[in-house]
């Protein structure tokens, strides 16, 4: 249902973009008849409902239409870009998830003390700085002054996986900074709640060692809400990718959407945005399933 409405929205958004499609491809000097012929070939002179049915029908089957700019099918572009973005996103997540959970839990165990304040304030500040700002400072420091990382993310062809990761480290840091605050905050809140809970007091009073209480009783309960946050951040991440991929000249889905929007390449834009939406909904669904799996209390209720 969400996906259906999403597709309608994306399609309507694409229709809102101004300008005659044939005119914008052929240029202002083209003959009006040629424009009409091209419009007819592309099918954009048909009723909107027919266009929508056609578009979504093909999309479900994996056919995303033809790019106006490249005069080639959209799907391979989306596919390649998606693989690129997934690599960048994966590097960012592999760095941020352990780091943020560790930060959140350490802050919670020291709640109210200076270490807690430092971690919370650092996380808050890192989260609110736009990616292009932290990205530009990183490029300046590590790419230009220290010259230890490349300033574009596009690796030479035939690079091995380690080289690829090396090229992706600098671009992933701005994403890591923004995500760190959210995830650490959730992990901290969850841990603080779990530390206060009756089952933790029971475990302590039973005389279990501190370490066991933390690992077996507190963290298990504390990190459940964090999983859901991590998954919803996957959707946010793609917005951040638009910026980071532009800044680091990287051919991912964010950069693709940005380029398509700027050049009014509607099929590419609609396909890219709908793909992003589908990924987000799937990530949210995956998080729900995982939460239910990890939390026995939700297994038989209708909670999922």
């Amino acid at each position: 249902m969400t996906l259906f409405l999403l597709s309608v929205l994306v399609f309507a958004g694409g229709q809102l973009l101004p300008g005659d499609v044939g005119r914008s491809i052929l240029g202002p000097l083209a003959d009006q008849r040629a424009v009409a012929v091209l419009d007819h070939q592309l099918g954009v002179d048909r009723p909107l409902l027919a266009q929508y049915g056609d578009w979504i029908g093909h999309f479900v089957l994996g056919d995303m239409g033809m790019s106006y700019i490249y005069r080639a099918p959209v799907a391979p572009f989306i596919g390649t870009a998606l693989v690129h973005s997934l690599k960048l996103g994966a590097v960012a997540f592999v760095i941020v998830v352990p780091l943020a959970i560790l930060g959140g839990v350490v802050a919670a165990l020291n709640v109210g003390r200076w270490l807690d304040r430092v971690i919370t304030l650092t996380g808050l500040s890192a989260t609110v700085v736009p990616e292009f700002v932290s990205g530009i400072v990183l490029i300046l420091i590590f790419g230009v002054w220290l010259d230890v990382f490349p300033i574009t993310a596009t690796w030479p062809p035939d690079s091995g996986i380690l080289t690829q990761v090396y090229y992706l480290i600098l671009p992933s840091v701005p994403l890591v900074l923004v995500l760190f605050g959210y995830i650490a905050r959730m992990a901290r809140a969850g841990t603080v709640t779990a530390l206060d809970a009756d089952y933790t007091r029971t475990a302590v009073l039973k005389g279990l060692p501190y370490r066991t209480v933390i690992w077996r009783h507190v963290l298990r309960n504390a990190l459940l809400p964090t999983i859901a946050v991590v998954a919803t951040q996957a959707g946010y991440l793609i917005g951040g990718l638009v910026v980071v991929e532009t800044l680091f000249h990287y051919q991912g889905i964010g950069g693709l959407i940005y380029a398509a929007a700027k050049s009014h390449d509607f099929p590419m834009l609609e396909a890219g945005v709908l793909t992003v939406g589908v990924i987000y909904v799937l990530a949210a669904l995956g998080a729900d399933l995982l939460t239910v799996r990890l939390n026995p209390r939700l297994r038989f209720g209708g909670a999922a």
């Binding site: 958004g13 609110v128 700085v129 910026v243 987000y280």
Partner: protein, 287 residues
């Protein structure tokens, strides 16, 4: 969750109590000082800076920082120090207006859907789910490409993309509130639905709405800056920081660090300041 907390604790600290809490929080005070500094700069900066921020000097382009040009000059020879000082003005106009639009509209929708429930609520909630499945930045990007970038359209695009999120927050607060006895009493007194929503429920959910307002201003600044960097936000010759970075970031490979670094630091200080204020307010209202 804030709705539940409000429902349980209708007693609210008097306003001066909140203020005293705020005055004791160093993080809040630091944030407020930073924000105040940039507000003053945008109001009076143009009259105070020694060099006209818009004056090009084609013989002195990309000069490094010196006694005359403290932050150096940009590609057109414009003084970077003056431009950084007045650079907050446009973003500090556009972001709060966009936030007001989004929070105002979102509150109205949240009130109506939360109070009446039923088919409209279902439909709107589904629509909100669908919009929220897209990253805010991409929604705003599409809207601005469609409408053409200008200060007005940026306000509209960001305000409208905030609306669903605010509507959802307000709706959940209303849902908790509408079951309470005072609403039932008002209904029995024969008050109209509109009156109950605006005069009875709204004053009781102002807390979460206020928090939403301050947090959203931070997001709005974040988003306006990013959109300007992408070239669809504030437009030249505005001295806006995001726009300046977008114009100059191609140069840093050549060692012209001053053309981006001071703008980057300025944005950082403003967003951190705004969020320290928002965080401090949230903590003070929670207590």
């Amino acid at each position: 969750m804030s709705g539940v907390a409000l429902g349980e604790a209708p007693v609210r600290a008097p306003r001066w109590e909140t203020l005293r809490l705020l005055a004791r929080s160093p993080a809040f005070l630091a944030g407020a000082a930073i924000v105040l500094f940039w507000v003053l700069c945008s109001l009076f900066g143009e009259r105070l800076v020694p060099i006209d921020p818009y004056a090009a000097d084609l013989l002195g382009t990309l000069d490094p920082p010196s006694a005359e040009h403290w932050f150096g000059t940009d590609q057109l020879g414009r003084d970077m120090f003056s431009r950084v000082i007045v650079g907050a003005r446009d973003i500090l106009t556009v972001a709060p207006l966009a936030t007001l639009l989004g929070v105002g509209l979102g509150t109205a929708i949240g009130l109506v859907t939360g109070y009446f429930r039923g088919i409209i609520d279902n439909l709107v909630s589904r629509l909100v789910d669908a919009v929220l499945a897209l990253p805010l930045l991409i929604v705003a990007l599409m809207a601005l490409v469609a409408l053409g970038p200008s200060n007005g359209t940026v306000i509209l695009a960001i305000g409208l993309s905030f609306t669903p999120i605010v509507a959802r927050t307000v709706r959940s607060a209303v849902l908790a509130e509408r079951e309470l006895d005072y609403v039932a009493a008002a209904r029995l007194r024969g008050e109209s639905s509109g009156h109950i929503m605006v005069m009875e429920i709204l004053p009781n959910i102002l807390g979460p709405i206020f928090v939403e307002l301050t947090v959203r201003v931070g997001y709005a600044i974040f988003t306006v800056a990013t959109l300007s960097f992408l070239g669809v936000g504030l437009q030249p010759p505005s001295p806006d920081w995001g726009l300046a970075i977008s114009e100059n970031y191609g140069l840093i490979g050549g060692g012209y660090w001053w053309a981006v670094l001071f703008d980057a630091l300025a944005i950082t200080s403003l967003v951190v300041g705004v969020n320290l204020v928002a965080d401090g307010l949230q903590n003070a209202l929670d207590q």
